[in-house]
Symmetry: C2
Subunit: 199 residues, 2 copies
Amino acid sequence: MARMSAAERRAALARAALVVVDRDGVHAATTRAIVAEAQMPLGSFHYAVPSRDELLRDVVELVVAGEGDAALAGLLADAVDPADAIRRTLSAYLEHVRSAPGREQAMFELTQYALRSSELADLPAEQYARYHALAAEVLGAAEAHLGIRWTIPVADLARLVVTITDGVTLAWLADRDDAAAERTIDLATTALVPFAVTT
Amino acid sequence: MARMSAAERRAALARAALVVVDRDGVHAATTRAIVAEAQMPLGSFHYAVPSRDELLRDVVELVVAGEGDAALAGLLADAVDPADAIRRTLSAYLEHVRSAPGREQAMFELTQYALRSSELADLPAEQYARYHALAAEVLGAAEAHLGIRWTIPVADLARLVVTITDGVTLAWLADRDDAAAERTIDLATTALVPFAVTT
DNA sequence: GCACGTCTGGGACACTTGACCAACTCTGGG
DNA sequence: CCCAGAGTTGGTCAAGTGTCCCAGACGTGC
């Protein structure tokens, strides 16, 4: 194995763990599966990381960061009106989920796992705070880009948006019904539009 | 141990497994933990059930059935208008979650677990079909009780409602923010009301 | 009364898991 | 040059896992 610092090795292990969790689920992310994915000997694991839970914390960080990048990537591009913008944004999110279902499922699994763990119990709250902040950021940017104003506090609307994306994702993961998911997004769009007024 | 048929024993094991899953999570629902909860010797397990996964299938059935009872229990009681009815129903659901967070989390965990398992992969689709049907039933009953009509197909609206309850539950489980959850419900109510017209 | 099929329950097996260690190798600063 | 400390690695441990087995107890039909 190439020589690398403990910090680098830890980061590499976190990336490998994410690959395993994505492909096989959290319950399959054993120390051995992770080092196999990272092509390291088992001994390296506890040299770079104090415990398995500690590494999973890193993985959550990784997932949350990745989620942010995807959400912000050029969504408000060329929408003609608020309804179009909302629909496109939600559809883009669904597309993001469809392109990597395992990763999105891993996100849920990690949240549930953390909630049950005494050492990781604080993570989910932080994780969702980040999601809500991210959604608020997108909504705030939309005001400027579309020449509109939200008639209710952006923080509240952000939470509702995350609620909808989570719910749509969960149902789609369960039944993989693309058409139904699109219809739900259309409906949600119709329901959200009245919260925007043109300035 | 009292004498009982294999079928009865299987049902008792399923109930015990649900208690364990509720309290400690799916990953803690080992054969030994389940038989300990049911106060049975370990040997009884594989006499009554061919495999652990097979029992988890029963548990999902149990949860889904219980969920249905809770959702239908006197929700449309005494609402003065559609908005009130929607808000009360969603709030009642949130209260249901708050009173038994472990069970609701267990529901999500079981869904995710089933999605990863090759033998249980068909369960989540069925599970969500039941949820959607249940929501549609409630919405249909609301039309009669409230003297309204939904302006869009009830099936589509049902999926949106499940989307919202799932999303609200997920966020609340993560941050336990009662006030924020209530605000989300208020907002969702406002967004849904336009889909109802009085007849 | 008695055999036969159902049920009981303690023990065992083969395997996986997270964690740890002691012995080795390499590298950079004095 | 050399040596202290950082990094590497295979082996090992105790605990826990799902599954299976079998000797016995029970209760029911003949």
